[in-house]
């Protein structure tokens, strides 16, 4: 790149003046205007945009909540109730924020399932995928700390149980826990640091999302066929095609979100969190928020505490190495007749874990969680590595535009002979 003014093509003189000194308009035009995007996306490709919108909603509602929230063990609970009663539209802010966290996880889970089914984690998108896993981890930390803020019974006991997990680590465990708490139990110092971090982390997420999107715009998007675009006939400019399609998804998403916020605002929460935190009374069952339940079930499926903690972290850490565990060069499971049913069972095992995580740690739920957790790992560690060798993928279409232009009907005979492409 040479030094000097950027040569800008914008007609408007003001825009051109700015753009030639700081080419953000050129950049936006390139990344969101003309950006060549595979023409065959289905609606699963809306969920990245939805996650972005959701993050913005969380930040916007959170900032206004923070103006009225008091991070003190004696005042936090009442300050949240005061937001609900005396702050103009405070109930809307608070319900949108609390349920926004649930929506965020729904959206991101679908986004992740999309990636798993269509092989979006495979080369050349490994780093893009790993950045996504980082976002997921940061979201979990943010939501966990946010849930502590209203200082209800589940806030307090959830925080106690989860932070205590770190005590399982030999030698340093106890020290880590004391350090997390800022004392010898979950108390005011804990609430204060969680509040500070809860405010900070979404902006860290924002930074990682930027890197995630930057990486996406290097490799380009995957698509339902999992094959690379071969030329302009396979792509469409992002605007207006995908801006229009994303708008449909955004409105549908807002409708679901509105239905929960306005009509069932507490359905996804736990009633115990409307009881002020009391360190002397342990609730009959301590359950985390629903979006943590699959991992909570894995934790409890292991009889040994340290083992459980390692498995729980491992169940997410494994996603980092997934691009190398899956040995098949075919991305989309549409063309992987064996991987498809195994993946379907994996999805079922995920939901079974979610269900077991909300149940008490007793039979039959413990055994069911063990089976489901075993399959969860088996899929990544054994099935995917083996399938790449054993499976005979279906013939891949010659290009994206061929099946699309033919309305997705049976493929021409010529397409059958094409060996699968290795990216």
């Amino acid at each position: 790149m040479s030094i000097g003014l950027h040569k800008s093509d914008f007609a408007n003189p003001v825009i051109r003046w700015v753009d030639s000194r700081l080419p953000i308009f050129t950049m936006m035009q390139k990344e969101y205007g003309t950006f060549p995007t595979p023409r065959n996306f289905n609606y699963f490709w809306n969920f990245g945009a939805l996650a972005m919108i959701n993050l913005l909603i969380m930040i916007a509602t959170g900032i206004f909540l923070a103006m009225n929230y008091t991070a003190h063990t004696g005042m936090a609970f009442d300050s949240v109730e005061r937001i609900m009663r005396d702050v103009n539209y405070g109930w809307l802010l608070r319900y949108a924020h609390a349920n926004g966290a649930s929506m965020f996880f729904i959206v991101v889970y679908i986004h992740i399932f999309r990636g798993l089914y269509y092989g979006s984690y495979k080369a050349p998108r490994e780093l893009l995928w790993m950045l996504g896993v980082v976002i997921f981890l940061l979201m979990m930390a943010t939501a966990f700390m946010g849930y502590v803020l209203p200082w209800g019974q589940m806030s307090f006991w959830g925080a106690t149980v989860i932070t205590n997990l770190f005590s399982a680590f030999p030698l340093v465990g106890e020290t880590i826990v004391t350090w997390l708490w800022g004392g010898f139990s979950v108390d005011n110092p804990t609430l204060n640091r969680f509040y500070s971090l809860h405010y900070l982390m979404p902006f860290v997420i924002f930074g990682v999302v930027f890197l995630h999107v930057a990486a996406l715009h290097i490799t380009g998007s995957n698509n339902p066929l999992g094959i690379d675009p071969k030329g302009p006939q396979d792509t469409l400019p992002f605007h207006p095609y995908y801006t229009a399609k994303d708008s449909v998804g955004i409105v549908a998403y807002l409708a679901v979100f509105a239905l929960i916020v306005f009509f069932f605002p507490n359905a996804l929460g736990h009633p115990d969190n409307y009881i002020p935190a009391n360190p002397l009374v342990t609730p009959p069952h301590i359950v985390p928020e629903w979006y943590f339940l699959p991992f909570y079930a894995i934790l409890r499926a292991v009889p040994d505490k340290l083992g459980g903690v390692l498995m729980m972290f491992g169940s997410i850490a494994i996603l980092f190495v997934l691009p190398w565990l899956d040995t098949s060069p075919v991305r989309s499971m549409r063309f992987r007749p064996l991987a498809r049913p195994f993946f379907a069972v994996w999805v079922v095992s995920f939901f079974v874990l979610l269900w077991c995580g909300g149940k008490p740690a007793e039979e039959p739920y413990v055994t069911i969680s063990r089976v489901a957790a075993a399959y969860y790992f088996l899929y990544f560690l054994v099935i995917l590595p083996l399938l790449g060798r054993l499976e005979r993928p279906l013939p891949l279409p010659e290009s994206i535009s061929l099946p699309v232009l033919r309305g997705g009907g049976p493929l021409p005979a010529g397409a059958m002979s094409k060996p699968m492409e290795k990216a």
Partner: protein, 260 residues
Amino acid sequence: MVGFRSLKALVLGAGLVAGLGVQAPALAAGGEIHLPDTRFSFDGLFGHFDRASAQRGFQVYKEVCSSCHGMHQLSYRNLRDLGLSENEVAGIAATVQVMDGPNDEGQFVERAGRASDRFHAPFPNEKAARAANNGAYPPDLSVIAKAREGGADYLHALLVGYEEPPAGMQLGAGMHYNKYFPGHQIAMPAPLNSDGQVEFHDGTKSTIDQMARDVSQFLTWAAEPELEQRKAMGVKIILFLTVLGGLAYAVKRKVWADVH
């Protein structure tokens, strides 16, 4: 793609089952207790508070429950929402004595309550409350309707659920049998125990069931005073999003018309 369809169905089905399972975490605990469905006016998409019932409920709270239970999130002025006039609210507030101060001389003085005061607490602190109640703590009722699985249905059931304990069941000292309380042994003696316990000014017959319904209506309003505004706004927003969604879809079809 047939395979994909069936995969989708499988996933959706599993999601639904898991979702339903999560919906009722408390039911999994212990034996299942079925609450009678009480059908309140605030149920449903167009729900609203029955003001007359909520006012009667406030009367039940004031005359019965408030000797043990505080509601510290509420101020007397909030009662205006239930249709009480400014004078009525001032009159109700004035029936309690409030410690105020320090004044310019540095003294704390008792004065009559004002509309801006919080509901008067029956006990100065938790220890005093426990001392007066056999060691049990009568919880603050401000958000109780949100703090129990089943909400208003549970409150109503709890208040009408007192019975003789089944033969052979040994109750703890000072405990009472209640069909709907988790574990069935509750330290609160049946607060509503005879028809006509409270005399309603509007002529409604104060059966135990009626008082229980009315106080549950009142406690739901106290826990979710925004409910009416929330649901009314929700209906408008869903209608708006439906129209906007139709437009967005039409635009998308038009934009994509030359592609497929």
